[in-house]
């Protein structure tokens, strides 16, 4: 891996965002709207409080964390789509750039997006609902890192599929991640799922993060087990998916798809 090539890709995207108001809005708009709606729902539910500990923390915390995963995924997939839309893949991959360097650049971009979005959502939550996400404690940091990695996994998966099957499956960029939402147990504990679905959710690293988050809120302790589970699963999936992505890349070069995507 050569950092100058990764830096070149990063600069290419920064140039893009520097000038594109819609692209910047895209990062800020959805989390903002989401948070406002869920914030008011939460305030409404608060009126019936007593039956459950702190609605605000549960829902807003969950929402902010889900957005971390979602943005991390988008960071990868949208960066790839930008290259498809501008038919730039040929320029990139006829240069010494390697697919691994490409993925590394998109991962760094996704971190940048997550940080930007989190900044917005945290501020909004603070101003509108006096909800300070940091009250959840610094113990959340390793969980956030895990959510980013899960987002990368889904991002690499969607990117590989779009690269291989073309623009017809472009909707996956926005859609596939939501297939993971119900089994990520974002807003409810894993125990509400039917048994068969619980088994599937168990294999989802994000579910362990959200379980862990709830444990932090309710018990205040640090849920080591949840963290270990999500780390283990994430490492496994990320390694497998990066391997799979390289396979897809090779298939695309065999079929001559790399020079055709975007047409």
């Amino acid at each position: 891996m050569k950092f100058h090539r990764i830096a070149a890709l990063l600069s290419r995207h920064l140039y893009l965002y520097k000038r594109s108001f819609p692209r910047v809005m895209e990062i800020i708009y959805w989390p903002f709207v989401d948070l406002v709606i869920w914030g008011f729902i939460t305030l409404y539910l608060e009126r019936f409080k007593g039956t459950m500990p702190s609605f605000v923390t549960f829902f807003l915390g969950a929402l902010i964390l889900w957005d971390v995963l979602f943005r991390a995924q988008q960071g990868i997939t949208i960066s790839f789509l930008e290259e498809v839309w501008s038919r730039n893949l040929m320029n990139l991959f006829a240069s010494p750039l390697k697919p691994s360097e490409f993925l590394a650049a998109t991962m760094l971009l996704s971190i940048a997006k997550v940080v930007t979005v989190s900044f917005v959502t945290v501020l909004v939550a603070l101003f509108f609902y006096s909800f300070n996400v940091f009250l959840l404690g610094l113990s959340l940091v390793p969980f956030i890192v895990n959510l980013i990695v899960t987002g990368w996994c889904i991002g690499v998966l969607t990117t590989g599929l779009i690269m291989r099957y073309g623009q017809e499956v472009e909707v996956l960029a926005w859609g596939l991640v939501f297939l993971f939402q119900p089994i990520s147990c974002v807003f409810y504990p894993m125990s509400v799922l039917p048994e068969w679905l619980r088994a599937i959710a168990w294999m989802n690293p994000a579910a362990h993060v959200f379980e862990g988050m709830r444990r932090v809120i309710t018990t205040g302790g640090f849920p080591v087990q949840d963290l270990l589970w999500s780390m283990g699963l994430n490492a496994l999936y990320l390694a497998a998916l990066i391997f799979w992505f390289h396979r897809m890349f090779a298939v695309c070069k065999e079929k001559g798809l790399l020079v055709r995507v975007g047409e």
């Binding site: 240069s95 065999e254 020079v259």
Partner: protein
Amino acid sequence: MAEAVVQVQNLTKCFGTFTAVDGISFEIREGEILGLLGPNGAGKTTTIHMLLGVITPTSGAIRVFGLPFDQHRETILNQVNFSSTYVSLPQALTVEENLRVAAGLYGLDRVSERIDDIVTRLEMQEFRSKLTRRLSSGQMTRLSLAKAFLSEPKVLFLDEPTASLDPDIAAKTRAMIQEIRRTTRMTVLYTSHNMREMEEMSDRIIFLQRGRIIAEGTADAIKAECGETDLEEVFLKFAREPEAPVHER
């Protein structure tokens, strides 16, 4: 004789059951400009894409600088570049930004200096800070050429580089390629549907049809073999008589 910088042996590309490139072999020597000629769909672009590693050959071997391509992709591509009228750079970036990104991809030093130099040589000053999407198609082609020259490649693949250029800029581009070749011994593979340009530019021509090499040699040699005085006549003769190889290799 100068040594072969690009060596292609029995190169074949099948897309499913369709054979786009059918067992071609050729060499390009250092400092040589080789013209790849042939009707639409002959396999010229596919050949260039294989030489750039964006399409994997079905069989056959590619060596550049004596190195097998698959094992030395990074080393080779660092010293190779390409330009094609049909491959544009990101439209939402300015000309200069696109050149800066390219400089990063090829790990170049003295970036500003190089960009100033190439922008002057290709007379791109007046649209240097324009958005790429605002350029005319000829200006875009010049940007694509600038990107290719920027890294001072040892090997350059040009796929119909002058297709959208006005006669003045086309002539200047040809002169520039010739000049760079003379001063740096750059090796060039060139495709064009402009026969006069082909004759003017190429030290040697390979005529491709249906993925096969059906003629090879200097423009004069090929014309003589066909008993024609004009390369255009040769082209029409080959293109209209599908199975008429001049000589088997």
